[in-house]
Symmetry: C2
Subunit: 213 residues, 2 copies
Amino acid sequence: MAQSAARSNGGKQSRIQTENRALIMQAALDVFSTDGYRGATVDRIAERAGMSKTNLLYYYPSKEEIYRSAIEQTVEAWLDPFDAIDPDGDPIEELRRYITVKLKMSDQNPEASRLFANEVQRGAPLVGEFLSTRLKALVDEKVAVIRTWIDQGRLAPVDPYHLIFTIWATTQHYADFEVQVQAILGKQAKKPGFSEQVAHAVLSILLNGIRPR
Amino acid sequence: MAQSAARSNGGKQSRIQTENRALIMQAALDVFSTDGYRGATVDRIAERAGMSKTNLLYYYPSKEEIYRSAIEQTVEAWLDPFDAIDPDGDPIEELRRYITVKLKMSDQNPEASRLFANEVQRGAPLVGEFLSTRLKALVDEKVAVIRTWIDQGRLAPVDPYHLIFTIWATTQHYADFEVQVQAILGKQAKKPGFSEQVAHAVLSILLNGIRPR
DNA sequence: TCCAAATTTGACCAGTTAGTCAAGAATTTT
DNA sequence: AAAATTCTTGACTAACTGGTCAAATTTGGA
């Protein structure tokens, strides 16, 4: 008599539930990240997930709920490495590590990056509040850390907010504009060592700037 | 008996044609840049342009044609300042100027930036060929210029391709992620001198890096 | 094995979509 | 001012959209 895959039974999920929810999330990530929320269709997500639309709606009650789930998952993964920036670590090393991790995320899960980008470009109808509350608080916290580092002379006197934006912009660019990067670099962008090459180049620029040294 | 606003009469456009096409392009930019190609509706564009859908389709024969027009317009404006990078100028000054212009474009016409971002994120179905032919050629040309500058010791030895990507990423971030920037910076991001502040911060980081100096 | 619960699906519905058509209103040309 | 042209619109269509429903099929525990 169950009308939908209820989460009411203590959060327990059957094997099939776990599998199918994972399939749906991956498909949702693919479709939402390329077509956007409005442009995506439940049918297309279902097809990509290899099941009927009706069955998909058995696991997630609506298109909006699928989207919400995908976004939440993405945001969490996104926050972790930022939160991990250690006030007691070496500034350059901490930022190097953060940039490296973010570049790796862009490389390994570009769909998630594009999904988030799309959400923000739409005006952040879903994550708007998250941005101005939780994310803002976390950014303010890290900005304070960076300021301390600057005051101690361990970092150049740059605006901490814009430093963070610059890091986000640069690292996510390789996911969001993947097609453009590949069009310009050609097959080179698909070779094994490419992500390391990107990391090296980006780190070199952000850490040292482009003035001759 | 004319069934559509033909461009067959030698390219001449009446006053009404010019006005309405401009209205439609601005509306298309707004709607496509937030909802994406698939998510946008002709009805919504027409409403934003202040005319009936039927009338809009009198000026542009299809949704795809509206989109194509908007994209082409955007790409042209986008290419100009890049092309203007002068091999005979001072490297730092040339890049400073380019970055400044791009930041100004992001500030004054964020919709265009988001439209292009969206197109590329979708897999660049329309501009894909442009990216791998005309843009690639132009980038290769500028990369050669940057290499010369580096060989002459007038620029730090950074990877030219990734330098260009970094500039694109950073400057466009302020348009594409406008909502996020505003959520984190608050009203500060709406004050008059903000775009100059952004320019100063971004230039400081890209030109000098973040290592203490 | 047997059965209750969980899973899966096709048929269906109401609303939306891009685009057509014919006719009316405004504008320009003569 | 009359005619020709350009502009504008409401009514319509066929395809697609998110979501429902009842009935079938599969699964896992006793």
